[in-house]
Amino acid sequence: MKTPRQKMAEQDPQVRISNFNEVPSGFTPEQAQKEAARCLQCKNAPCRSGCPVEIDIPAFILAIKEGDFAAAREKLLETNSLPAVCGRVCPQEDQCEKVCVLAKKGEPVAIGTLERFAADWEGEEPPSPPAAGPEKAKVAVIGAGPAGLTAAADLARMGYRVTIFEALHQPGGVLVYGIPEFRLPKSIVFAEVEKVKKMGVKLELNQVVGATLSLEELFESGFQAVFVGTGAGLPRFMGIPGENLNGAYSANEYLTRVNLMKAYRFPEYDTPVIRGKKVGVIGGGNVAMDSARTALRLGAEEVSIVYRRSRAEAPARIEEVHHAEQEGVVFRFLTLPLRYLDDGKGWMEGMECQKMELGEPDDSGRRRPVPIEGSEFTIDCDLAVVAIGNDPNPLLPRALPELKLGWKGTIETDPETGATSIPGVFAGGDIATGAATVIEAMGAGKKAARGIDRYLSRYTISPRG
């Protein structure tokens, strides 16, 4: 009989909504080997083409099957500097697992969970990277999110001397301030960052490039190329009445307070957060799911997701929607908030909404939600979290007027090399694409590292005279 796809053990929904511990606990070694044995070791390995950082998937899975977990981890680290993160948050169902040959029969190999297993394997330390040959040029990386960390690690591997400048007091970008502890423990992120530092990458925190130091200063102080990975950190609001009431948060603020500042441990930690009893979260993506599940863990009695389209159009990962449902989050699809209601003392008391129906497809190919006249109704809530998306962080572009920008303030880049309109300045990740995914940001960091290498090699080879 064929082995079924293995599943990780998970904390019971009723237990986990009162803690911030990670929900699934990862494969046991037996489970991992059993799952690895399901892989057919395809010659053409279609799964690999589904991976934006080109992991040698069959090779690492084979090592797990053979019980050499350290070798599996090594294989991952060859191309992916943050495998423990990716194994947890990547949308594998849209990437490698989608094109796995076993997906046709409905049960692709659990590549993501195997990645997580191998990355978490604590055997002997991986050998430190080969000492760089002759010292290569200095490269500055701006932003310590997945794009910046990947570019830095790859450049260090090529022998460049890399310094990352990060605006916040901790590295990781969205991985530390956005994605909650119960989905991605911060200790995992910091351990991955430590590995990048061990490769010789320097990390300077609290450095807002464009404010604390300028790009010109970086070039003047000897950096020969710069990678910009400053992300999409500007929260969008809907611009409807009542959005500045006490009790209205952007998802960024809510999640930053809880994750980066650890407000869930207030008053042990000094940063406070509003603990809503009835919480409405606006949006249908991962950010909305994370906000809703955070609200439950902070003691909310009732949490609803308010989304103007239907379930089929919601961009959140299936697994996240499923987890949210298991935990008791109520989904109100085809519902649009019109305004927030004031309790007379400046605090949120509810939101007036309108019912929607699906009309003709719009630019995104999804059916456009159209309001139904006369369908207005009220949802009671004392906290509303607006999770309708983020735009590129304008701080650095604003300080660099000669940088060519595209749609919504993204930095225009050559998608193959990350080159921008300024020579020596490269960019990638959410700042170039708009809010996307961890792995796409990492893929962009990787390509830009190669682009920078090519640019600097050309730069250091003196022209023939």
Binding site: N206, T212, S250, P267, D270, T271, P272
Partner: protein
Amino acid sequence: MYRIVEKNRLTPEAVFLRVEAPRIARRRKAGQFVVLRVDEQGERIPLTIVGSDPEAGTVTLVVQEVGTSTRKLGRLKAGEAILDLTGPLGHPTEVKKWGRVACLAGGIGTAEVLPVVEAVRAAGNTTLAIVGARSRELLILEEEMRAAADGLYITTDDGSYGRHGVVTDVLLALINDGAVPDRVYAIGPVPMMKAVADLTRPYNIPTVVSLNALMVDGTGMCGCCRVTVGGETKFTCVEGPDFDGHQVDFAELVQRQKIYLGQEKSSLEKFEESCGGCRIR
């Protein structure tokens, strides 16, 4: 880590700190601020850069101890360090030659207005400083202010020093005497900034206020600091902190400053309890 090289107590509730932060010292301009985190459990709080010494690589901060974070900061000694500190954040104050400029401040705002007075005067304006305190013992930086401004007016709420009254009384008297300023700058508690804006509105005197919205990151990433100016939402940390005082929705600002009152109180109680022990050090 950002080492404190000098600390002086100014009043029972305010301290002066000189902190090592060479890059910020080099680039900061009047009106900008830092965001700092005292320790691992700490909040990120905004504080105005009162001055800097680019040669020595230090910035000066003046802190009023009102809650847990500012008390923690006030407790640090020279030689100790602040865990995280970043800046300079916010737009620098707009400085041009306007003619006669009145800079008003209340309470800890006196420290915050000092760099503005210096910059405005350096641009060739006749610069008047009007500063208010609750009482004489709470007045700060009098000498520094006297040196920086062309004229200094002091008011105290209780009449223990200077003129008995509030800063707007002085401004009104100047206007009535025909010495109408070409521009007014105000920084302090919200009711004071609102009073200044209300006073200058009928005279059409351009009035800039520096808003003290609550903040988290200070880099435009969270929206905690949003305020309504001229009917539009603005993020104070990246679009301010200076705004047109005649356009600011002060009522909303006051309201938003109260969001965490209950939690701030319980945090402070816990901190003071734990401090029974730390005083022995």
